[in-house]
Amino acid sequence: MAKDVIAEGLASGRWKVQDASQLNTDLELTADVVIVGTGAGGGVSAEILAKAGLKVVLLEEGALHFASRDFRLTEANAYPNLYQESAGRQTKDKGITILQGRAVGGSTVVNWTSSFRTPPSTLKYWQSQFGLKALTVESMQPWFEKAEKRLNVIDWNVEPNVNNTVLKLGADRLGISWSHIRRNVNGCMNLGYCGMGCPVNAKQSMLVSTIPSALDKGAVLVTRARAERIVMQGGKAQAIEASAMDGRGIYPSGRKIRVLAKAFVLAGGSINTPGLLLRSDEGLNPYQRVGKRTFLHPVNISGAFMPFKVEGWNGAPQSIYSDHFLESQPIDGPIGYKLEVPPLHPVLTAITMTGFGAKHRSVMSRFAQLQVVLSLLRDGFHPDSPGGNVELKRDGTPVLDYPITDFVWEGLRRSYLTMAELQFAAGATRVVPIHEDIGVEGYSSWAEAKRGISELPLEILRAKIVSAHVMGGCGMSADPRQGVVDVNGRHHQVDNLYVFDGSAFPTSIGANPQLSIYGLVARNASRLAGQLIGRPVDWLAA
């Protein structure tokens, strides 16, 4: 049986972990730094700050799972336990379904391990449009290198699974560029269950890397604790108030947690971090920028039936991508898109394929032949792609209002066309863009698809649009009127408050975001740690 770092750490008796759902009384803690959220941003922050000798308290709404033993590799277990809103989080008008993690380790526990540095064109846009002069390709390079080293981002030299191979083959036949995806794995067994938690500790998620190391260094972790608000005093953040959740993480149990700290790091991820700021004391949102410019890389989906077995549940979920439609046009022109494929598992596939009854079943009975391509649209680089806005529901939980503009729909139509052409080129017998107005059998030729897609009514809840990359909502900017935090992640108005997660991005990334978060947060958390202890820190020092 594989070693389980979490089980061992807990058994060692050295870790300070409190499951708040078990609390019988309210809890008050003090810390040098309190971190809300333990995902990509919170995990890296925790390790760097704890290593610097600071007293760190981590608040996490999700539960702590054993690193491998708890991952049962079924969707029925994974979605309610590891995802926000049981993997069914939706935008306000229900037009887009959003996947985000909720567990110790955040979305990194369930992500698909694809690792890309922030594209140079994105950094350049941030410099020119948001005044983030310090974020150059050269200045960020060492941070990406450190993150890649720490989290074992490697070239994945294993034969891509068939699902990915079709993308490669189709791209070749259309004469567009493609490349291999690097992955943050160590000892990956090519199983294909990354989305349900890696069962063999191969994926270098925060759960098996930075969080255990922060706990080894004395950090305190409180799970099933939802940060509700930041309490201010004299223009500074003074405390965080949190609700203990019940054992299933659905309702607050009534117990309260209060953490007093010198510095406050918000890392609840996009949507949730802005939500926390919106619930907090006044003075945190003077220019009404909190929650604005939240981006999704909106994704549309194209299924194809291949004359051979695909078995999209087997093998590393993502190993091939194409940036042809990002690179062949200016970043601020018509919206560009990245091509990738998703892992295919029964629940996600069944709820994605349209229709019902015998027709739906006929698709499911050919599940093994199904191949799927995704287009991830690069939102946020054009005035007609302003992203969404986070609001609070009546119970104080956040919801994203993300209207899809005509500008974005135009890109979605182009990408439906691209995906269909590519899948036919790769030998598909039928191509089925996921849209209610297209029958489950889809199109039988590229000519038919081209005609059909050109006339498709593009509307929400007809076209299936999803996202697994939520970014922005507390954007960085040089000008306090343009964003929420500065280039170092520090809140423009509150000195001891920081946003160290994907919500600090002023646009989408134009690539899967995890490595962008690791790199930027490593930079900013190292800076904060250095300031707090009065000397520079080195993330990777022994």
Partner: protein
């Protein structure tokens, strides 16, 4: 999924008409109970919602359900239970939205006039249910489309989340060595 505001916005369906319904149809009464072995194991779905879910499931899962009547009944019951578990795992406010949708489906007046099903769910024909689903699926009202999508999601998640449902789709579940690994773990 339906929000309260959206429900109110659809106007005609509002409280006033519910009043008329009460008047015209006598007291609002749920459809007969969908027979289940142990109602106590349900967290969210009441008897009327279970009847509705079973009827909708029967149609949406046509082709996936076993043919033999006894096996089919058991499968449907498992499905309704799965739907209950799936819904009960959602955050409170989202559960409330689902409950509103279920109310719309089960209330005799709205079932007839919004959903378009004239008979109690247990007696409605497959065609009637299929027509209702298609009307909502292609409705020009975003509200009804979102209602259809919510049902589609709950039904197929509840069904294909159950390992029994993998028979016949060529998927044999997580890698075998992991299953052993759990046995010893």
């Amino acid at each position: 999924m339906l929000t309260r505001r959206q429900l109110i916005k659809t106007g005609v369906l509002g409280g006033a008409l519910l009043g008329v319904a009460r008047f015209g149809y006598g007291p609002l009464e749920a459809d007969p109970v969908y027979a289940v072995v142990d109602p106590a194991r349900f967290k969210v779905l009441d008897a009327a919602s279970r009847s509705a879910m079973a009827a909708i499931g029967r149609v949406m899962l046509a082709g996936a359900l076993p043919e033999a009547p006894a096996a089919r009944d058991i499968a449907l019951q498992e499905f309704v239970h799965g739907a209950d578990i799936a819904i009960s795992g959602l955050p409170g406010v989202v559960q409330d939205e689902v409950k509103q949708l279920l109310m719309l489906l089960t209330n005799r007046f709205t079932r007839r006039w919004v959903v378009g099903i004239t008979k109690p769910w247990g007696e409605a024909s497959d065609d009637d249910i299929g027509n209702f689903l298609s009307r909502w699926r292609y409705s020009s009202l975003v509200l009804l489309r979102s209602g259809y999508q919510a049902l589609h999601q709950v039904v197929f998640a509840a069904w294909y989340g159950n390992p029994h449902a993998w028979v016949g789709i060529g998927y044999d579940g997580p890698p075998a060595f992991v299953k052993d690994f759990f046995k010893h773990g």
